[in-house]
Subunit: 368 residues, 2 copies
Amino acid sequence: MPIRIDPWSAAVPEDYARLMHEFGIESFEKLLARIPEPHYLMRRKIVFGHRDFERVLSAMRRGDRFVVMTGLMPSGRMHVGHKLVIDQLAWYQRQGADIYLCVADLEAYSARSVPFKESKKLAAEEYLANYHALGLDVGRCHVYFQSRSDVVRHLAFLLAKRVNFSEMRAIYGFAGESNISHIFYPMIDVADILHPQLKEFGGPRPTVVPVGIDQDPHLRLARDVAARFQREFGFVLPSSTYHRLLPGLTGEKMSSSKPETAIFLTDSAEDIKKKIKDAFTGGKPTAAEQRKYGGDPDKCRVYELYVYHLIPDDEKLLDLREACKSGAIICGDCKLRAIELMTKFLKAHQAKRKRAEAKAKKLVEKVY
Amino acid sequence: MPIRIDPWSAAVPEDYARLMHEFGIESFEKLLARIPEPHYLMRRKIVFGHRDFERVLSAMRRGDRFVVMTGLMPSGRMHVGHKLVIDQLAWYQRQGADIYLCVADLEAYSARSVPFKESKKLAAEEYLANYHALGLDVGRCHVYFQSRSDVVRHLAFLLAKRVNFSEMRAIYGFAGESNISHIFYPMIDVADILHPQLKEFGGPRPTVVPVGIDQDPHLRLARDVAARFQREFGFVLPSSTYHRLLPGLTGEKMSSSKPETAIFLTDSAEDIKKKIKDAFTGGKPTAAEQRKYGGDPDKCRVYELYVYHLIPDDEKLLDLREACKSGAIICGDCKLRAIELMTKFLKAHQAKRKRAEAKAKKLVEKVY
């Protein structure tokens, strides 16, 4: 898939580049040519880095078994930013991955005091129904709740024997006032990642965890621990990929608790219209100036929506980018187009989601 | 039951008295008159202290429901010192207690690296079979393994949210090199003690944990935590009783790892004979001197066996004590009597234990 030029800006911002160097994360771009039909999030460097993804890639290419593991913390409403991981999961599912989906209700309890009942409700109604509507066949995933998985908690305790407090303090900054659930919690995370490699779940095999770069400490801990228990369990060190996060519409971070920064999967046409109209762009102060000098897509939150989500076709995205830079399209029109595409997407999504609800609820009742 | 004089020496040694004062433990003796048919271990001040036992006593006298909770760590062979707790449990069972018996296999794993399979085998063959043979109807107890109790582990995590590292460090001396299983483990202990008060196990009610005084930190932690979660669970703060430990035959501590210090429940007549013959006594250097000046039962390990186990009848014990002090009996003869009684007891016990094995194994298969 030859592309005229790179239409998605400097997708790896400078601070990511620094972090990659610091953490020893490799560029994902270098693997692209070997990946069968890469997802556009990969082509567009939204998935920009990896650790040991080669072994997952080899399994994928050979048709060998491999695992994709991710967790969801049931603590709020899903916005389009959350969709990023689900898009990747759906892609991996098409590539034959065995997908493990953990409902992190122990984390929600220990970090945000979300009651377990509430977590269960949220997991079904807010998350799994959305996941299914977004193209992930959740019925074919291994879905489980941390609070109900005996295996995960048992493994966590087992593995925790070779991790000491100094390490946890160094990684997570724990101190005297840290509570014991919190201190123990990262071991649950590690067990989430490693348990698909236990004999009863299919044994050792390549595993990839797609995360934001801020999650890398968990991954490094999981790899360290996997290595320490190599002899007992034969764990293959887990791989990871890193994606950059969709920035908020207003310029700040996209956040569930600040509705103006995000478009929620439940937003109405009215919400969408208002939010995109108010979004921060790369345009000039006046339409006239913009027609003359052009806009800057790399600073624009609306363009980001196109890259990340609204225009999957690379050529069409590139056309838009050129139109913006040359001043052929101005922000008002561009926003109208984004509003139209987003409204269409969400309307269809919300209908699919409604249909997926019963399936999600049923699933939640029988999961481990 | 009026007794001529106190036949069991200064049953609460000076250092115990100091510890009681320091920890705020009350004298058990003061409650004796109100206890229905107290066990001789209580009468003889081997059970010497308590914390809040009154509320358990009231329940017992009113015929209300109450819980006795204890744990066994499957890590070695049982000796007569271990019998102390089982004697109490059997007594409580006769008083109508609901008995919870926890197999502390997570502790055995985290503190002594005992594999879980080994724990299971030991629990059935070494512990529960012995318990049953010692007069405790294990079939009527709630027996469970920590590693298999979802409820206990879930509760531990829940409760751990309001305990911080500084507290754990202060109680248990944890430091940077402490492993995370170990740091989390005391919360499992706390959950063991409190879970019988969960709704699904019968709800809040008085609970007593009979322990050696060295276990008091766990009890204080359990009480503190129970108070912090009063609103959510309505926990009644757990009570505790404290017993002194049977000292070793040789003068040092009785220990499974030093066979000469202890009489094991599996010992042969030959073993018993040798161990008691070699035991440390309160006798004089020569038989002639002893006949003239008398012996000192309060220093004698063999007398301790009589007090603790071999002579349940107070009058008979007192007779022996007088005979020792007056020089009417000398150590050789006294030892022969002890050997005879112990051999008789263990022979009968070993036969009962053999019969109890199948029951114990079956029980272990179906416990939670």
